[in-house]
């Protein structure tokens, strides 16, 4: 199975080029803000960079998912379900500050919900996959 490795390589390359693109964009944005009045625009990474990442990821998803064998469509659903709970990243940041606030409570709720999903999703996927056996 050389394919996963080559796919990882390709994804790595893509990410690399996306990174350099982002770098260029940042330089460009820097130049722009110097040339013009102080830009009130988005802080941090520019939207175009995020959109680039998004569109490329949709393409990666498209090609990867079409190769999933139909017999494993149920595990595919449960595992995508588990990984979409990576939204916990946003929840952790909300629950992270000191003191107590509405945002922190929201963060706590989201961490709990996402944790149900992460543990539940990966475990049920593993249970399913363990059942798929070849002829003895």
């Amino acid at each position: 199975m050389a394919e996963p490795a080559s796919l990882a390589d390709r994804a790595g390359e893509l990410a690399g080029s996306a990174n350099s693109l982002a770098h260029n964009l940042e330089l460009l944005a820097g130049q722009l803000s110097r040339a013009e009045a102080p830009a009130p625009a988005i802080a941090g990474t520019p939207f175009v960079f995020e959109l680039t990442v998004f569109v490329l990821a949709v393409f990666v998803g498209y090609y990867v998912v079409w190769r999933v064998t139909p017999a494993l469509h149920s595990p595919l659903m449960s595992v995508t379900n588990a990984i979409s709970s990576v939204i916990i990243v946003g929840a952790l940041i909300a629950a992270g500050p000191l003191g107590i606030s509405f945002a922190k409570v929201m963060g706590f709720v989201a961490v709990t919900l996402a944790a149900v999903n992460i543990f539940g999703g990966f475990i049920v996927t593993q249970r399913m996959l363990q059942m798929f056996q070849r002829k003895r």
Binding site: P4, A15, I42, A43, G44, E50, F54, A57, V58, V60, G61, V64, V65, T69, P70, A71, L72, S74, L76, M77, V79, T80, N81, A82, V86, I87, I88, V89, G90, A91, L92, I93, A94, G99, S101, F102, K104, M106, G107, F108, V109, A110, V111, T112, L113, A115, V116, N117, I118, F119, G120, T125, Q126, M128, L129, Q130, M131, F132, Q133, K135
Partner: protein, 464 residues
């Protein structure tokens, strides 16, 4: 941890997730793929915990322990037949989590670096509104799907006059509210937007019937991904964006495959109401005065034993009756007698994509005996017995011959080409689409009336 270092680790996590999906291309690599997924999640969580934003841990640990315990318990206890409702329930949690994160980002934008309260960046507001709206639609939509699959409410489509008008109005209201929210950043518009999205999710799924659930679940799977991506845009987090895009496109592809399996457009499914006519379409055609041949378990056992090749066609009815284990026992006995037994799975068999494969795998049916429609459909002509258990519409030849039939054009399993067709069915009732199956009246068809599980057990007894 510096920002570029954490970005690097987020990239590693993204690649792990891609590998997790890639592993599913074959059952042999799938387990390793799942472990990649787990690794990716661990990397993502640990990396976030090490960022300077996170300084207080007790609430986080509490949340992970509580959630983890609940998730683990459910995942270990759940029956495989209940998988569709489990997945629907899990989708709703992702949706709700997205709403919570959006609410946190709105009330405390400083921790995400998207501005200060009252003057959040315009772009972030748009992304936040979209992420939350999709999350809320996913949440209520999945709750309705769960209730239908679990049997808490009727699986029949619930339609009322003016439904599409209400939905369209609600959709328009959503757009207005998003515009209002982005321009004013007023808290009331945020909560109104939330309420409108929750209502829309509810109304969107309510009119969709039980057997369309494979599409609905796939669609909600897709939505949960887009919601995550929306939140990723809000927080400028590429890991969330990448993962959301992966999940979103995965769900979209599954929805497409399911729609193709029923020869219906996604709009046709979303607009709902399919199968509400009940059996009304079926009557007429003079079918009723024709006689059917019905047989006993002993007759079936005799026919099966004398066959040299058998293809089993399982459907949702097998899952409901929990007949997969008895079925496999029957197949084992036949195989011992030298009969070639295989299984044919229609793309929309069951209540979620791939559901039948999991149930058969659970009953220890080796996956290399299980075939997809395209792989096996040609072989029916050279098959002695087609054993249809709990399936109906997916075998109906009217899909090929009768342009007026609601299921016309749907790809079907050509069981009628087999020398003998055995139909395990509780009654003569028509299937989900409300269409009479002409196959029941053919000379080479024998109906085996009864509960799928009991019938298999009786055949096993007769074979022994």
């Amino acid at each position: 941890m510096s920002e570029s270092l954490s970005a690097f680790f987020y990239l590693a996590a993204s690649i792990c997730f891609i590998m997790a999906l890639r592993g599913l291309s074959s059952p042999e690599t799938a387990r390793a793929g799942n472990l990649y997924g787990v690794a990716g999640m661990v990397i993502a969580v640990v990396t976030t915990l090490l960022t300077p934003h996170v300084v207080s841990f007790w609430l986080i640990i509490l949340g992970i322990v509580i959630g983890g315990a609940i998730g683990t318990y459910i995942a270990l206890k759940i029956q495989m037949t209940a998988l569709p409702q489990l997945v629907a329930a899990f989708h709703s949690l992702v949706g709700l989590a997205a709403v919570c994160v959006a609410a946190a980002a709105f009330t405390f934008p400083e921790s995400y670096g998207i501005g200060v309260r009252g003057s959040i960046h315009r772009g972030s507001l748009v992304e936040m509104a979209l992420g939350m709206a999709i999350g809320a639609v996913t949440f209520t939509g999945s709750v309705v799907a769960f209730a239908k699959l679990q049997g808490l409410v009727t699986g029949r489509p619930l339609v009322f006059p003016g439904q599409h008008l209400v939905n369209a109005a609600l959709g328009a209201l959503l757009i207005v509210l998003i515009a209002l929210f982005v321009s004013t950043e007023a808290p009331p518009t945020f909560w109104l937007l939330l309420l409108a999205s929750l209502a829309l999710g509810f109304l969107l799924i309510v009119p969709i019937g039980g057997a369309d659930m494979p599409v609905v679940i796939s669609m909600l799977n897709s939505y949960s991904g887009w919601a995550a991506a929306g939140i990723g845009f809000t927080l400028s987090n590429s890991l969330l964006i990448i993962t959301g895009a992966l999940v979103g496109s995965s769900g979209a592809i599954l929805s497409y495959i399911m729609c193709r399996g029923m020869n219906r457009s996604i709009f046709n499914v979303i607009l709902g109401g399919f199968g509400t006519e009940g059996g009304a379409v079926a009557v007429g055609a003079g079918a009723l005065d024709r006689s059917v041949k019905s047989g006993s378990a002993e007759d079936a056992a005799f026919i099966l034993k004398n066959a040299s090749s058998v293809v089993v066609v399982p459907g949702y009815g097998m899952a409901v009756a929990q007949a997969q284990h008895a079925l496999r026992e029957m197949a084992d006995l036949l195989k011992k007698d030298g009969v070639n037994v295989r299984y044919a799975i229609h793309p929309v068999a069951g209540r979620m994509p791939g559901h039948m494969n999991v149930l058969l795998a659970e009953a220890n049916v080796p996956y290399d005996e299980v075939f997809e429609l395209e792989e096996i459909n040609r072989d029916f002509a050279s098959t002695d017995v087609a054993f249809v258990i709990g399936a109906n519409d997916v075998t109906n030849p009217a899909a090929k011959t009768d342009p007026t039939s609601p299921i016309y054009g749907m790809p079907i399993l050509d069981v009628e080409r087999a020398k003998t067709v055995l139909f395990v069915k509780r009654s003569m009732a028509s299937g989900y689409a409300g269409v009479e199956n002409e196959l029941f009246y053919r000379d080479n068809t024998m109906m085996l009336f009864g509960d799928a599980k009991k019938m298999c057990e009786e055949i096993v007894k007769a074979l022994e």
